[in-house]
Symmetry: C2
Subunit: 205 residues, 2 copies
Amino acid sequence: MSHGGGADNGVSPGNVPVCYYGAAGRVPAALERRVRAAELFMRCAACGLAVLAAALLGADRQTRTIFAVEKTARFTDMQSLVFLVIANGMAACYSLLQGARCLVSILTGGVLINRPMAWAIFSCDQVMAYFTISAVAVAMEAAMIGKYGSQQFQWMKTCHLYKRFCAQAGGAVACAVAASLSMVGISLVSAFNLFRLYGSGKGRK
Amino acid sequence: MSHGGGADNGVSPGNVPVCYYGAAGRVPAALERRVRAAELFMRCAACGLAVLAAALLGADRQTRTIFAVEKTARFTDMQSLVFLVIANGMAACYSLLQGARCLVSILTGGVLINRPMAWAIFSCDQVMAYFTISAVAVAMEAAMIGKYGSQQFQWMKTCHLYKRFCAQAGGAVACAVAASLSMVGISLVSAFNLFRLYGSGKGRK
């Protein structure tokens, strides 16, 4: 099969867009540029938002004196918040590394994509997306119980005692939601980058 | 641009697999068959498991007398379990419909895939996958609190009071986990079905 450029395409040269990929998975240059820019933007956004969420949660504490007993609420008191901090820390590191890779590939204009590489990136992105979404869902559930309690199971409301703590945790969860939506977008882009390699080449419409 | 079958591919006829798709996104027939079979299998599995999870939770109740007060634990007592039942009901209906579509397309051998259709299926699959994963994560968090409580926030353990209820709910959550993993697999297949349409062939714009 031929791997050549536009010239041997059997299309008049004027209609042939410049393509980054020599072989499979070629898309028009304009689409390619937009996809890469979107990927870089989302990776940076995910990194920043995840760092912000983890920092907000990590710094979140409130001490109150209740019936002469001093109690401090920290994020470590709730497993789901610890899980959220860990998930966001991982997402931030991962997004930073991938963003760097993305930037390098844009600057050098290099062809990074081969199938094993694309599979690796795609798998990691998928896992991170589901992981961050799960962490956010779990934290939101815990936040709901904290805010409204569960009478049947005698779980008391906590947020009216630790108002400032809960407000800051709410902000952190909002950042984490935004970060995980970015991760979902990224996993969509990497799915595109992977599976277009499977679109058949010659004889296509 | 050539629209023909294997013969005008410039590949020797012996190596050219029969393809289902006349136009974009052609893959070898063996891969195509395997992908379709896997999709059908996963949709059926997701449907069955989601129904099972919802039924187990819906039928789950236990009555106990605690300090002369009769109390019944039901799945409706916990928002997260209600959410899980709703999510699994939706996943079951959705998988049933999509499974039927999948079966029809296998039996008729029809070419169902065009880009808008593939985008619609892909989007729905993605949403359902993230939705079911979130529901499972939330239910698992609630199950953890039910089993271990949270001393800091004075949320008491519940499962040592309602052992049978918790065991059945655990089984339901396990089914829901399996169902949501199937949904993830399905979303992978539909990503493949969508984005291979973008893989460029020769002379594509």
